[in-house]
Subunit: 203 residues, 2 copies
Amino acid sequence: MDKSKIENTEVEILNAAKEVFQQKGMAGARMQEIADKAKINKALLHYYYRSKQLLFEAVFKSAFTLLAPQLNKVLNDDSDLFEKITKFTDNYVSFVVKHPYLPNFVIQELNKNPEFIQRLRAEKHFPTIDTFKAQVTEAIEQGKIRPIEAEQLLINIMSLNLFPFMGEPLLMALINVDKTAYNKILLDRKTQVADFIINAIKI
Amino acid sequence: MDKSKIENTEVEILNAAKEVFQQKGMAGARMQEIADKAKINKALLHYYYRSKQLLFEAVFKSAFTLLAPQLNKVLNDDSDLFEKITKFTDNYVSFVVKHPYLPNFVIQELNKNPEFIQRLRAEKHFPTIDTFKAQVTEAIEQGKIRPIEAEQLLINIMSLNLFPFMGEPLLMALINVDKTAYNKILLDRKTQVADFIINAIKI
DNA sequence: GTCTATAGCCAGATAGAC
DNA sequence: GTCTATCTGGCTATAGAC
């Protein structure tokens, strides 16, 4: 009744594969390392997933499925605009603490295979900007925020939230702090990023 | 007197290697592809650079040497704070148009080899935050901008400028536009990003 | 389903002719 | 300096025993 007995081999492999692929990417990942992490042998990887490519695709799909709802919190949650921004920046930091390599993995592999987008778009729950756009337009008309294109605002929100994690080593070097101090800075962003954005747009 | 006759083989190789490494990363790059691009054979790559690792390091160093002065424009240019932000966001877009894969390459390889930072720090012209920090502190004391930590402001400036390029496929999908429309949006950011930041901090 | 052993391929690196 | 040919190791994938 141990948890590891309940989870079957297929799941063990997928979890190990997530770790390795997300840290090393498709090109850098090694089937041997995944097998070692899953405490099985290489042959079993192929028994369950046929090829490295298919195992990778399972990992990628799973990663995107986890990331998409996070992004959707800005786009298709029906709370007030400022509240959404506040909740999103708070939530997102917590999400990345749990899955530190995931967003960067998704973005890098999308960069290398832009055609993945076509396939993802077919899935249900693929985020769309329409609701967010209407909300921004309305807030502008009501004089609540300065005029700004919804697309630009969305890019800004995403940038301010995703980049501090993706660019961590570079940013740590630039601001000249160690990992502990940098983590403190990231936690502060849970509230500071929303304040920054709201200050930028509110009238 | 053709340009390609003046440039020697070593430079041709480095240029080809830049293209391949910056697009595919260390793990994904192939020596054969670099040789093909440089219109020479694989043996010559080793003749000039000994190994893939050393060729990669030459490319990485060259890339960082190009990127560092760009980042320094925010940190150690002695113009006024608002003016710096404006100039930086304008310049940076132009820079990435010329070197589309470079910033992402540097960041990804730093993520995979955080120890590179130690070596880079030894170089002269490594960007430091001190001047920028003093400038932010002063602007706050003078009541020109709201209180904000210089580190957070720097992270915000970097995020808003670097991420729209690194996350292009993801952002294109989210805001549901094609490459042409997205490029237009990026060009608009030349001025919009600075406005956004200044609105966020000015009193 | 899980293992060991190995086939087969591909990439980095080298030898040696010119 | 530049080439062709080849070595060597490592990696994906499969065969086949249990």
